[in-house]
């Protein structure tokens, strides 16, 4: 991929981000009042909705500027851009990295779910060991020792000392 193609790929990602930002800002106008409270509540010239909607409006404007400028730059860029082959290439080149990132997030979610259900010492041990493995460590003895010692330290600090109700 030459430089211009790389730039085009980046611009495509910018456009996606722009769309995300706009969806957030426009979405605010639909979700700012989930309890259907009447807007007159509040005194002093501002209601509970004034501030968030003002910020959402500003974000919409800024988001539009960002999206449009990225879009214009994208169109001006003369290289070809094939989404599917780009994704295939990116995954091929960065497989390990993407796997690590996704794995970290999933591991964190599982760990969060385990807190409170499984004994903290055990869940932390499993988390640490799995994370070490995920990050390409294969020195199993060191990993095990650190997992156990680390969980012990965490237990002492958070359960015993800080008395968290886990």
């Amino acid at each position: 991929m030459n430089k211009s193609q790389k730039i085009k790929a980046e611009l495509f990602k910018d456009i996606i981000m722009g769309i995300i930002i706009l969806s957030i800002s426009v979405g605010c106008f639909f979700t700012y009042n989930p309890a259907d409270a009447p807007l007159e509540v509040g005194t002093g010239g501002m209601t509970f909705a004034t501030y968030p909607l003002a910020v959402a409006s500003l974000l919409t404007i800024l988001g539009l500027i960002y999206l449009l400028s990225s879009f214009l730059k994208y169109i001006k860029n003369s290289s070809k851009f094939d989404l599917l082959s780009n994704i295939k290439n990116a995954v091929k080149n960065n497989q390990s990295l993407y796997f690590k990132r996704l794995g970290s997030v999933i591991l964190l979610i599982i760990y969060a779910r385990m807190i409170g259900e499984i004994n903290f010492f055990i869940s932390s041990m499993i988390f640490l060991f799995t994370a070490f493995y995920l990050f390409d460590r294969r020195d199993y003895l060191k990993m095990s020792v650190l997992s156990v010692l680390g969980s012990g330290f965490l237990y002492a600090l958070f359960i015993y000392f800080l008395k968290l109700p886990i």
Binding site: A37, G44, L62, K100
Partner: protein
């Protein structure tokens, strides 16, 4: 006053008091360095332990923790870009790049010097100008706080490298995140999506730990193969000399100024002072483009401001019974529990304890300096470990820090979500720091603006009612024009490239 202080110092040198103060400072440094754990949390844990102590020793422990966490939070901000406390978030902007450049010990050293210096100057100002500080605390009202908050926000482009547009988008997103939950004035839910967990919004510690901690881990995973250590091989423990520190007088004098002035204003405190100090130092620096890449002034300014708020926060607590921040609020509760009555008469009825606390504040600063300087080697050693060893621990600490904010699991999920979101935004060039700025300052600005308007009966001219407000407004307008000018210059430069 003077005799009172001498008596206070004498009390502090009592072996038990001295030891307790030392232990508190040590604990504060340690707890502050753990990502996600804050000073109020540490003090609350120690409260039951202090019940069996007399009033002064109990409060000395708390003061030690208070002072210690202010620096400790910066250690994790510099080494892991996961600030221990919100006030340390600003230190991460230049502190973390310094660590990545192999200058971790330098950054930690500057942070320690700055914290000590900030604490010292704020102490001197506090004890010599008690009436002035009390007056500032009392006279500053909601309109002033709102304007100060806006001033901090406007300085946002001080934190953006490159596109000002992206900086402001980040701030807006931060402001929206900060407004989730029941609003402070009417208790009406906003953006809760019908969820009970979101009824009170995204807890602050979760936002901090997610946007800074988790997103750093996700993005730095890409570096795991290329460099085998967080610091390059060529590193050595290089501590700044006293002369080096003195040379950067602009940074620490601006930091102390903001710490002393803003610190006395209850409700803004360290969270506002650090950002204002950083922004001002950057704007007035000879090489502003270096900020954000590892410029020592970018560590000195917020650190000095951070500890510089301690004196300003304690004086209103002792003279008026008004807490400057969450930690001093807990100390007020502790005073009641030990048979004292905080309020306007405490200086008279509890003089011994008051002077002891003031003396303890200074001593704690000195102890913090000594302990921290010695501990830098230890911290840097930890940092030398491979990322694959460090990151799992960072993730666990961040998870538990988020959990501890509300003692429930939801903040952890919020932190993970924000971590992924922050990572994606940073990939597209949006500095996560601006989002954090929005989350910190947003609620302060909204709440204070609304109260100011309610007190003034919807009269917006109240924001120009007093001289300080006019001055702040003037600064804001000046800053806005300055940012636009700088933005245009940057556009021109990037076009000519």
């Amino acid at each position: 006053m003077f005799e009172g202080l001498i008596g206070g110092f004498a009390n502090c040198f009592d072996p038990i008091n001295f030891t307790l103060l030392f232990l508190g400072t040590f604990l504060g440094l340690l707890v502050g360095a753990l990502p996600g754990l804050s000073s109020p949390m540490a003090i609350i844990i120690l409260l039951p332990v202090t019940y069996s102590l007399e009033a002064l020793p109990a409060l000395l422990v708390m003061i030690g923790v208070y002072v210690g966490t202010k620096l400790g939070g910066s250690f994790s901000a510099i080494l892991l870009r996961t600030p221990g406390t919100p006030a340390s978030a600003c230190t991460a902007i230049d502190g973390f790049p310094m660590a990545e450049n192999g200058q971790a010990s330098l950054a930690l050293g500057y942070a320690t010097y700055s914290s000590f210096f900030g604490g010292l100057t704020s102490w001197i100002i506090a004890v010599t100008c008690i009436p002035i500080i009390s007056a500032v605390a009392l006279k500053s009202s909601n309109a002033d706080i709102a304007l100060i908050g806006i001033m901090g926000l406007v300085m946002v482009s001080a934190f953006t490298r490159g596109s000002m547009l992206k900086g402001f988008i980040g701030v807006c997103i931060g402001l929206l995140i900060g407004s989730m939950g029941m609003d402070k004035s009417d208790a009406i839910e906003r953006f809760t999506f019908g969820s009970l967990d979101l009824l009170t919004g995204v807890p602050f510690a979760a936002a901090l730990v997610g946007l800074f901690g988790f997103s750093v881990v996700l993005s730095d995973l890409s570096l795991m193969k290329t460099t085998s250590q967080l610091i390059t091989e060529k590193f050595k423990i290089e501590l700044p000399s006293f002369k080096d520190f003195c040379k950067r007088w602009r940074a620490w004098s601006i930091g102390s100024f903001f710490g002393a002035v803003v610190g006395a204003i209850p409700g803004v405190g360290a969270d506002g002072a650090t950002w204002l100090a950083y922004g001002t130092v950057k704007n007035n620096s000879k090489n502003p483009e270096k900020f954000g890449l590892g410029e020592p002034d970018g560590v000195i300014a917020p650190e000095t401001a951070n500890n510089g708020t301690t004196g300003g926060a304690m004086v209103p607590m002792l003279t008026l019974g008004i807490p400057g921040d969450a930690s001093t609020a807990i100390m007020i509760g502790a005073l009641y529990l030990h048979g004292l009555q905080p309020g306007v008469t405490l200086m008279k009825t509890g003089a011994e304890v008051v002077y002891g606390m003031l003396a303890g504040l200074l001593l704690a600063g000195i102890m913090m300096f000594v302990i921290a300087m010695g501990a830098i080697r230890f911290f840097v050693y930890i940092l030398r470990q491979h990322r694959s060893l460090l990151f799992p621990f960072v993730m666990v600490f961040a998870t538990l820090g988020a959990y501890a904010s509300y003692n429930e699991i939801f903040p952890v999920y919020a932190a993970i979500f924000l971590g992924v979101f922050g990572f994606l935004m940073e990939e597209r060039g949006f500095p996560v720091v601006t989002i954090v700025l929005g989350v910190i300052l947003g609620p302060i600005i909204e709440y204070n603006t609304r109260i100011a308007l309610q007190v003034a009966d919807a009269n917006w001219l109240t924001f120009m009612d007093t001289l300080p407000r006019i001055i702040i407004l003037g600064i804001i307008i000046f800053l806005v024009f300055n940012e636009i000018k700088q933005g245009l210059i940057r556009e021109k430069l990037s076009k000519t490239k």
